[in-house]
Each structure stands twice: as structure tokens, then as C-alpha cells.
Symmetry: C2
Subunit: 316 residues, 2 copies
């Protein structure tokens, strides 16, 4: 039997439900009374998303952080959360406490009131999180204009190395290894930066499915060409990739799970944005520019190569 990829599965749901919106924007938006509500649901599945060496507390925190990341990209304050938990029948009390501690940590960190949820018995651990906020202005994936600058909220590429370390595929110690692991276990979506600056964004999108996926989606939605002339990478990762003969482009653009976001801004806002990033200690990186045309192109030495969408697919 051929495996179905995620986009095929989503298409089946869209067709059957007669709903083209099924999984197309990062967040769900709906009106109740006179209020526009923003919601985001995300799911963390043990066998797919939680390496066995990852602490359950970190996994629980991350399941909320993953939702917050989409709110950060859209500039929405998360206010409430509902948590559904599936737990194997023989799970220990201490593991459940770890899970609860992780939820508590995230809810404090992001100021989210946990309303409640449900608990279920299942074959594996599953955290399903929904968060809610309220806003009339939401930055969309489309909207970038010629000349706009493209930014990301932090460096990319650590998560692939971190995941391989957590899965025991590679062995490595020291500061770099710790940093790589932390990028997986303790992602920090830049919510304050998103809330403060969304008014300057012409478009934005969470990058957790992989930077190449996000850039291609934003380029397609805006019907623009995205030129990337500065790869958002730190020296330590560059060095590691070189010494281990890893493809830097793949690490940075196709890894995913960074929980940063990509945004575009008109050039006139560059100074304001940079000043705000400094104040909020958000290490934004300018990576390129929007122009006429289509596709995403990355400068490698003197050539521009077409960057295809090779990010994370859940059913790949």
C-alpha cells in the first residue's frame, strides 16, 4: 500500500467536508457575537514527536509552545487553553506529575489560563492543545510586496542535530550538543516580538514545518519571488556542519521544529523593527528580499539556487 502524504490526506478532508479552509492558515478564525476569535490546535504524538530521551515535562511544555508559536507569527495574545491528554493505562504517577508540570510551566510562561480538558486512555501519549485569543487584525501568509525585507526571529538548523542526539543516532557532548538538544526540548516562540510588531508586518508565518516550507508557502500566497541572500545560521552550526560533512542548506531550511517565524516588512520599518528586537532581546535576522516573480531562491556562493519545499511532512 502506498503511504499517503499529509497534503493528500488534507485534500481528502477538504473535498469530503466541502471546506477548502481545512488546514490552510496557521490559525482558525471565527466570529461569535461581535468578537473575532483566534484558535490554534496542535497535537504532540509520542511515537512521532517525542524522542524517548526527551523529558515528559519538556514535551508537555512544548505542546503548548507549538501553539503559541502560531499566535506569535500572527501577533495574537494567547488567553485561554484547553488540554486533552491520552495516557497509556500503566503510566506512573510521577510521569503524570511531569506532564502536568510542563503544562503549568508553559501556561505561566505565556500567561495562558488553562480552562480544563479531558483525559483518555490510549496506546501512546498524545497531547492535544487548543489555545484561544481575540483579535480583529491578523497578519496573513500573503501580503508581501516588492522590495519588502524578509526576516526570521532567530537562527535555524539546530533542531535536526538536536533530534539526532536525542534519538541516539549521533553521540556528541559539550556546549554545542547541549544547545542543539535544547533547541528541540525547549523552543521559545517569540510571542512578545510578534505582539509588539505585527502592525509592521506585511505577511508572516510560523516556520515549524521547516523554513523551506514556510518560505515557499509565503511566496506562493503573495505571488512573489523570495530571494534569500543571507542564510540564518550561527557560526557554531556552520562549523559543526563543515566538520561533520552535513549539508548546511538541508539543516537550516528543511529541518523544522524551530518554532521561530518568518515575517516580511516594508523597508521603511527596518529601523523600528530592529530597535524593538533589541529591546525584546529577539535575535531577528534579515535573510532576503521580496521581488516580482515566483519561487524561493537562495544565494550559494555566486549562484541562486531554487529552494524547494522539503520541510516536514507528517506522513512522509
Amino acid at each position: 500500500m502506498t503511504k499517503l502524504d499529509e497534503s493528500t490526506i488534507i485534500k481528502i478532508f477538504q473535498t469530503e467536508l466541502g471546506n477548502k479552509e481545512f488546514v490552510s492558515e496557521d490559525v482558525e478564525i471565527f466570529n461569535l457575537g461581535k468578537i473575532r476569535i483566534v484558535a490554534k490546535t496542535d497535537t504532540l504524538v509520542e511515537s512521532t514527536d517525542i524522542p524517548s530521551k526527551m523529558r515528559l515535562e519538556d514535551a508537555a511544555r512544548k505542546s503548548i509552545a507549538a501553539c503559541v508559536s502560531d499566535f506569535a507569527a500572527k501577533g495574537i495574545k494567547p488567553e485561554y487553553g484547553i488540554i486533552s491528554v491520552n495516557l497509556p493505562k500503566n503510566i506512573s504517577r510521577s510521569k503524570i506529575i511531569d506532564v502536568a508540570k510542563g503544562f503549568k510551566k508553559a501556561s505561566t510562561e505565556y500567561g495562558i489560563t488553562i480552562l480544563g480538558g479531558d483525559t483518555n486512555a490510549g496506546k501512546e501519549i498524545v497531547f492535544n492543545i487548543s489555545i484561544f485569543g481575540n483579535s480583529n487584525k491578523i497578519v496573513t501568509r500573503k501580503g508581501s510586496k516588492n522590495g519588502d525585507l524578509i526576516f526570521v526571529t532567530g537562527p535555524f538548523g539546530y533542531t535536526t542535530v538536536g533530534l539526532d542526539l536525542l534519538l541516539g543516532k549521533i553521540k556528541e557532548k559539550g556546549k554545542f550538543a547541549e544547545k542543539a538538544i535544547k533547541s528541540v526540548t525547549n523552543p521559545k516562540p517569540k510571542i512578545s516580538f510578534g505582539l509588539k510588531n505585527k502592525k509592521y508586518f506585511s505577511s508572516s508565518m510560523d516556520s515549524s514545518d521547516g523554513l523551506s516550507t514556510t518560505l515557499n508557502e509565503m511566496s506562493k500566497q503573495s505571488k512573489k519571488k523570495f530571494i534569500i541572500n543571507n542564510i540564518p545560521v550561527r557560526k557554531d552550526l556552520e562549523k559543526y556542519a563543515k566538520s561533520h560533512k552535513l549539508n548546511l542548506i538541508a539543516l537550516v531550511f528543511h529541518g523544522g521544529e524551530e518554532y521561530e517565524f518568518v515575517f516580511t516588512v516594508p523597508q521603511k520599518y527596518k529601523k523600528i523593527i530592529k530597535k524593538s528586537a533589541n529591546l525584546l532581546k529577539t535575535p531577528i535576522i534579515e535573510i532576503g528580499q521580496v521581488t516580482s516573480g515566483k519561487g524561493v531562491f537562495v544565494k550559494e556562493e555566486k549562484n541562486y539556487i531554487n529552494l524547494r519545499d522539503l520541510g516536514w511532512k507528517h506522513f512522509g
Copy 2:
């Protein structure tokens, strides 16, 4: 290792999150702007909730119906839904279409706009549903007064037989078997009746965890004694129980998954309620009365026996 039961697990979450509200009412209520939002999240897990002989289309429909059941009890109109689906990697296209068809069926049946959701790979099928509505008046679990009449929205007891049939534990054919199976595969929460009549309810609660659980919870919350002198059962089930030497009390009160609800009303509204039930073809049954005291008591022949909470526990 001792298995933890659901209430222990919930207590751990309540303690760690510093949130006594974690899983205590049937629905979540929160304010955004000036709007009071009602939300309900429910999860259907393959290994726990979906007998292998149950069609996936029915299971998907039921996952939404289960949420609607709580809205029915609270008299809230469901308006929007978000769906999270976990699917095993090797699932076939036709099964995914079945799932989508089931969601579509329920969304049409209850007038719910499906906003979207997410799809994930996992070890087993999991449907996580959140539905949303908006209301300033919500009927609570407490609030019943001395003399109030206790009603249920339909007959109980078929689901245990239906589940045993679906699990192949018993073999039976004919009309009764079909009806019992349908009670599991195609529950019909009485949403129209709930919406129309909530203004007359002094308290109400969904009964899907088992009628004994619901009655005990409502009695406890109201600090009243619930006297049950009419067991909500049809002749066909009574006959079946007798001929198969099954305990009728256990079938009716401890089975669960009926997706009916229990409500109490002041006696003066009895006529109005009955007329409305007739018009809406909702087969409500008057089962007893609220009095001073505590506990739930069921009349068996000439004696009243204490009905303990022996409904469904997820981690039992």
C-alpha cells in the same frame, strides 16, 4: 504498578496546574471581549472507544455527536468545530474518506461549521474534537430544588448490549440486536430539545459516562437526594435482560455512552416540557423526584436501594 483511575489523574492535573476547574463541568466557559464562549473538547481513541466492527464513518460522526451531547445538556447551540486527527501511517485512502464523511455527516446534522484542524501520524486512530458556541446562560449541574422532577431524554441500557455485540462477545441477530448496535454506532443527542427547553431546567448534565455517575454528580452538586422510582427502560430491553439473566440496574445505570442527558424541572413546567418533547419527538422519560437529603435511591420492588456511582471510568 497500580493503575491510576481517572479521578486520581485529574486530581494530579488540578493540583499541579493550581486549577480546580480542570475537568469539573461538562463544558469550558471563557470570556473574550464581551462574549461568553462555551467550548467542549472530546477525544475518541481507537483502542479504547472504537470497536473493530464499528464503521470509521460512524466513529467520526460519533466523536462530534459526543461533544454536541454536552451542548445539548447545557442548552447551547454548537456553531464551530475544530478537528484533530491522528492516523496510522499505513491507513488507506478509503478509510480516510470514511472518516471525512463521518465528520461531514455530523457537521450537517448539527449545523456546525468545521473551521479546520490538524492531521498527525500516530500508532492508532484518535479523533479530537472541539466545538464552540456562545451563551450567557448555561444550565449547571447544581440548582435542583426539593420537589423538582427528574427527567432523561430517552431510554437507557442498549449500549452495553450493543457494545458486546460489536466486540463479538455475544452473538445475536434481529431487530433488537440492530437497535442495540445502533445505540453505540449512531447516538442522537437531543440538541433541539435542550435548546428549546433549557429555560425550564433547574439543573442538567450529559449522561454519557453512565446514568449512575450523572445522577450522583447532580445530587452531590445540588446537595439533594434523588429518588428514582421509574427506571428509564423499554420493554424490549427488559425482556432481553430477563431472558439472558442480565442485571437490568447495571445495564441501565452503569453502561454509559447513551449521549442522552438528565434534567430537573420544577413541577409547574411539567406540562410545557412534555408538550415540547412531543413536538420535537424527543422521548423524554420522567424518572423521579428531588428531595431533601443526599444520595441517589432507586425503587426496586418495594425497597429503595442506594445507587452508587458505577459509571464509566476511562482508566478503570
